[in-house]
């Protein structure tokens, strides 16, 4: 309920409004977002968004790069959970060339993707805490994100923009050190995360601050193309992992947490609960890890082992072909989507049989749901608008492609 409701239109028009530039580089917006707000005192009357500040023309670049070089572009979409983007792209290409990868590789991918989802949600929820004045939770949670990045580093050598995995599987098997680190994480993290949950989930000050702000109904959320935790917070249990399972997600038991009102509090709680569900999935994958190879037999896409390159003619030829991107792919068009940190991350690929995609379009969840932002903040206070944005988890890289 805002204060306009009991005033006539004439009265509102008589009032003088202030125009306020929120961003592009505002410390409270965690990325480059500009909103030109029309303010009546502390109340937001209207908002006009400007986006595209870090547009990097990925779709154009992708039309000139061989398939295995596009993975690095996907890293930079939602850089809070790059492994999910990488895997999504690998799976799209695998689907196009018709390769079934071994069960073991699928389970390893699931572990990596769920770790990435946890780190994505940790950042988002920690930042919701910061924006409502609770810096403590942020500093505690970031040490856990650090542990996840240590695991990624152990798997692939990189931390943030991971470029993890290959078309056709993973670059190498998990080492003993990786298993040790994941087990340590599974053992220690729940305790630390419970501390954070205790700090905020039922905290009266926090709940009063975030409940009923930035709400959106399920119907509007669907119309605005919401997916992921933001849609589930509004009460729609759409999850790509369950609707169209990929990478053996059908083997795992997990729940889809949903909210009721779609407000900032619901989004926070849905993400909190999803972290617990992700932990469940990782435990199951670790316990039931199948034996076998971690890559499929696709020599035209998957780099051969280095020792073979030095000693075998065939491996040398394939190595050259993969590195130079001289592999032909079948013609066709394909859409594949994965459940990213923010929702349905889709890849629409048209291939004309050449070395690079003819057309590649990324369905970027942030880009699509961020257009609902003005509607969500109209009539609310400026400080609530900041919280709404951080709880939506709009990532600038994903927004601007």
């Amino acid at each position: 309920m805002n204060e306009f409701d009991d005033k006539s239109v004439e009265q509102i028009e008589e009032q003088e409004y202030t125009t306020l530039n929120l961003g592009p580089t505002h410390p409270a917006t965690h990325g480059i977002f500009q909103n030109v707000l029309t303010m009546d005192g502390e109340i937001i009357v209207d908002a006009v968004q400007t986006i595209g500040y870090i547009h990097r023309a990925f779709e154009k670049i992708a039309e000139h790069r061989p398939y295995n070089q596009i993975t690095t572009l996907t890293d930079r979409l939602n850089y809070c959970s790059s492994p999910i983007n990488n895997m999504g792209w690998h799976m799209t290409v695998e689907k196009l060339i018709g390769v079934e990868i071994p069960k073991r590789a699928q389970y390893m991918r699931v572990i990596i993707m769920e770790l990435a989802r946890i780190s994505d949600h940790l950042v988002c929820n920690a930042v919701v805490g910061v924006d409502s004045g609770a810096l403590t939770g942020f500093t505690y949670l970031f040490q856990w994100r650090e542990k996840i990045y240590d695991i990624f580093e152990q798997i692939c050598g990189a931390r943030l923009t991971t470029n993890i995995g290959r078309i056709g599987g993973l670059e190498r098997d998990f080492s003993d050190e990786v298993y040790k680190k994941i087990k340590e994480f599974l053992h220690d993290f729940p305790k630390g995360f419970t501390e954070f949950s205790n700090l905020l989930e039922r905290n009266r000050i926090f709940v009063d601050r975030v409940a009923n702000t930035g709400a959106i109904s399920a119907e509007r959320a669907l119309s605005f193309g919401f997916t992921g935790p933001n849609l589930r917070a509004a009460g729609v249990d759409y999850d790509v992992r369950v609707m169209s399972p990929y990478s053996s997600y059908q083997d795992f038991e997990f729940a889809i947490p949903i909210g009721e009102k779609g407000d900032t509090y619901d989004r926070f709680i849905v993400r909190q609960n999803e972290i617990w569900e992700s932990l469940k999935i990782i435990r199951q994958a670790m316990d039931n890890m199948p034996q076998g190879k971690w890559y499929a037999d696709v020599p035209e896409f998957y780099l051969p082992p280095k020792e073979d390159v030095y000693t075998k003619m065939e491996a040398l030829i394939y190595h050259f072909k993969v590195v130079m991107g001289e592999t032909d792919v079948p013609k066709g068009e394909i859409y594949h989507s994965v459940e990213g940190g923010n929702g349905e991350l889709g890849f629409y690929l048209i291939s004309d049989g050449g070395r690079a995609p003819f057309r590649l379009h990324f369905r970027r969840p942030s880009f699509i749901y961020y257009q609902a932002y003005p509607e969500m903040i109209k009539g609310s206070m400026l400080s609530d608008a900041i919280l709404t944005m951080s709880s939506l988890n709009v990532i600038a890289g994903e927004l601007d492609a």
Binding site: I51, R220, S223, Y238, M243, Y335, Y348, F367
Partner: protein, 168 residues
């Protein structure tokens, strides 16, 4: 109620729209319908309101360009999703380069707003009836549509990136 297979949906659409449905195929199991641009809005509206198929969700709108197909240079691709039946449908509409105009679907799905602006921004496809068809990711002053195939990846007038400096 018969089972909602791709063949059944395609047949249902053919009965409804007749010859304006140009083709139906299933690349990688996704029903792909090519429709006449004049009825693209009508087909999506019909799919949305059909009691059986119940498309509630517009997953994606994007454009593509096929410079070598005369009279069908541009293409608008809609990905629709029925969350209750878990069916995805792809609607494609080819437009001529001389007149790349198609009706907007912003009146059916709010999410089409920015996605159509993005398509306009990169391909110059005009969405008739769109509330605010302006550039979205590129600067307003840009006077070309960068994803069109006639534009090379890098600016051809640049002299600091000539091949000879890199020994090529």
């Amino acid at each position: 109620m018969s089972e909602l297979t791709n063949v059944y949906i395609a047949e249902k659409l053919r009965n409804q729209f007749g010859g304006a449905i140009l083709s139906a195929s299933e690349p990688y199991d996704m029903l792909t319908i090519v429709v006449n641009p004049s009825i693209a809005h009508g087909v999506i509206n019909w799919l949305k309101n059909d009691a059986e198929i119940k498309i509630q969700f517009l997953t994606d709108v994007c454009g593509a360009q096929f410079p070598e197909i005369e009279g069908q240079e541009f293409c608008v691709i809609y990905h629709l999703h029925s969350l209750t039946n878990n069916i995805r449908i792809r609607i494609k509409s080819f437009l001529p380069a001389s007149n790349p105009i198609i009706a907007t679907v912003t009146d059916l799905f709010e999410s089409a707003n920015w996605q159509e602006r993005e398509t306009y921004d990169f391909y110059g496809i005009i969405f008739e009836g769109h509330p605010n068809l302006t550039r979205i990711l590129n600067v307003d002053e840009m006077d070309y549509f960068p994803l069109r195939k006639e534009f090379p990846l890098e600016d051809g007038t640049r002299t600091d990136k000539e091949d000879k400096y890199f020994g090529r």
